[in-house]
């Protein structure tokens, strides 16, 4: 198993507050890696650091050995790191299809002139984008409503659409930020199955922030626990469950 995504002493401070404090871990290719911790532990900030949305205050991270620190988000996305957002950031005024098509941007090249004059290559490329987008919409079960505005989908459907959009990036790593939030038990069950399915299908590595502990325990190969911006434990679900520091962090947060 090779290491796909690695963080070295990654830190982020706001004023004097260390939102993420010297966090180091390595995610192996093909695994489902969970990231848990009480609210405000810095999990989403960690995602933002690794996708270039928030500048790094200290430390570094790399992907397949290539340093990514300091790269802008669109470059990191183009290299194969896709994500969803805790607060769902779909393009609400665009259709589901268009939302998914956007992610094909870094995999295509047609420029302004090509698009205006409609060269053969650009038309073919556009066709490819369209096909791929429908394929992914079918995968998440939203193909029959592809032309509807993203804003009109239900909460659960929007989460699925966001995942679809991230998948369209052809990512090697998928960062999911609380994908099960707001879902009922049945939906959570389907989501777990879905994540397993796409991991198989696209040979993905998945990093998952999630609050619902049973889901995390059941799905993840390994789990990292953050508390107050610091990494307090990394290991298999069983190991982490028994870790006294973890127990205290959760109990202390009650």
């Amino acid at each position: 198993m090779s290491v796909l995504l690695e963080a070295h002493g990654l830190s982020r401070s706001f004023g004097g507050l260390m939102a993420v404090n010297a966090v180091s871990f390595a995610v192996e290719e093909g695994e489902v890696f969970g990231l848990i911790g009480p609210n405000g532990a810095g999990k989403t900030t960690l995602f933002n650091l690794m996708t270039g949305l928030t500048p790094v205050s200290g430390g570094s991270f790399c992907f397949r050995g290539m340093p990514l620190t300091g790269l802008p988000p669109h470059r990191i996305a183009g290299l194969g790191i896709g994500r969803t957002f805790q607060n769902i950031r779909l393009f609400r005024g665009l259709s589901a299809l268009e939302n998914v098509k956007i992610s094909r941007h870094s995999r295509t090249v047609t420029g302004l002139l090509g698009g205006i004059f409609g060269s053969k290559r650009s038309r073919q490329e556009e066709k490819g984008v369209e096909e791929k987008a429908w394929e992914i919409l079918r995968l998440v079960g939203l193909a029959d409503r592809g032309m509807e505005l993203a804003a009109n989908f239900s909460y659960g459907e929007q989460r699925r659409l966001e995942i679809a959009r991230a998948l369209a990036l052809d990512p090697a790593v998928l960062l999911l930020d609380e994908p099960a939030a707001g879902m009922n038990a049945a939906e959570k069950h389907n989501l777990t199955a879905f994540i397993r399915e796409v991991r198989e299908l696209y040979k993905l590595t998945v990093v998952l922030i999630e609050h619902h502990v049973p889901l995390v325990m059941g799905l993840c190969d390994r789990i990292a626990v953050l508390n107050f911006g610091e990494l307090i434990a990394v290991g298999s679900p069983e190991e982490v469950q028994k870790n006294p520091a973890v127990i205290e962090a959760y109990l202390g947060a009650e």
């Binding site: 949305l53 609400r92 005024g93 956007i102």
Partner: protein, 303 residues
């Protein structure tokens, strides 16, 4: 027919010209950028054409090229606008929302003061006696008209293209667009440059049309007018700006007593449109259509 053209030719050409200027504000808006910079590029384009058409330095060019001097003016205006837009846009478009609007306001003002004082622009008086391309004002429909058609086609094709998609994504959510692989700065600048080039070309076509050119062509007032066009017509559809321009620019003409109140009307429009019609008329029509279609569907389908 002759009389009609005589009386209304100027107005019709002006409507087309104003539609084009509204479009120049529309392009940055499709990428979510509220830019009030169009008058600056319009002014630049006009000055370039005016200088090239009247300055002694260019006399040999004029003799050699004859009427082809005009397209050359348009080309130079387009290139100059593109260059200036890159210069101004690349730093300025790192700003968001109100900050960008302010930066573009500052740009227009600085340009205006420069034009008021430089020798080459004729100072406060400006440049007079710009040679005509056509005999009558109505003739200019043959420059502005095709330009408008080309712009509309361009805009339509842009909307459906990969670049247009990138614009839309940035407009919806710049951050998420970046996270999905779209380079926001590149496309924001591109949208800005497109708008600037259009404004510049329109300016260079307008100098002969209006016969004189001065710093009053590129003012903050003008950007408010274009903003009003886009707001009332709708900033989400390529037909919106044109609709708004035709409506607002013709109103003072059609209702003679309101002529002096043109600016007041613009102001009132801005207030009413921003409160009651944020999506503009086209947007309102769209919503209406949805409602009507729904009703029809019930009538037809609900057997």
């Amino acid at each position: 027919m002759e009389d009609f053209l005589q009386n209304y030719g100027f107005l019709l050409v002006t409507l087309v010209q104003q539609s084009l200027l509204a479009m120049s504000m529309y392009f940055p808006l499709t990428a979510g950028q509220l830019s009030l910079a169009s008058p600056g590029f319009y002014s630049l384009g006009g000055y370039i054409a005016a200088v090239m058409a009247t300055a002694d330095y260019f006399a040999p060019w004029r003799d050699a090229l004859g009427w082809m001097m005009f397209p050359l003016e348009w080309l130079i205006a387009a290139l100059a606008s593109a260059l200036l837009a890159l210069l101004v846009g690349i730093p300025a478009l790192r700003l968001r929302g109100i900050y960008l609007a302010l930066a573009t306001i500052a740009f227009v003002e600085i340009l205006r003061v420069l034009c008021l004082n430089l020798e080459i622009t004729g100072g406060a008086i400006g440049i007079f006696g710009v040679p005509q391309l056509f005999e009558s004002r109505w003739g200019y429909i043959w420059t502005f008209g095709p330009l408008l058609v080309i712009t509309l086609i361009f805009s339509s094709r842009l909307e459906r293209s990969r670049v247009g998609r990138a614009f839309k994504a940035i407009r919806e959510d710049e951050l998420a667009a970046g996270a999905m692989g779209v380079n926001p700065t590149y496309y924001k600048v591109l949208a800005f440059v497109i708008g600037a080039v259009l404004a510049g070309i329109v300016g260079s076509m307008s100098a002969p049309f209006l016969n004189t050119w001065n710093a009053r062509q590129g003012t903050f007032d003008a950007s408010i007018s274009y903003l009003a066009y886009v707001l009332i017509g709708g900033g989400r559809s390529l037909w919106g700006p044109m609709l708004g321009a035709v409506l607002l620019a013709s109103l003072p003409e059609l209702l003679r007593p309101l002529k002096d109140a043109r600016l007041i009307i613009n102001g009132v429009v801005l207030v009413i449109a921003s409160i009651y019609l944020p999506q503009g008329i086209v947007g309102a029509l769209r919503r209406l259509k949805l409602v009507t279609l729904d009703r029809f569907a019930v009538l037809w389908g609900g057997q």
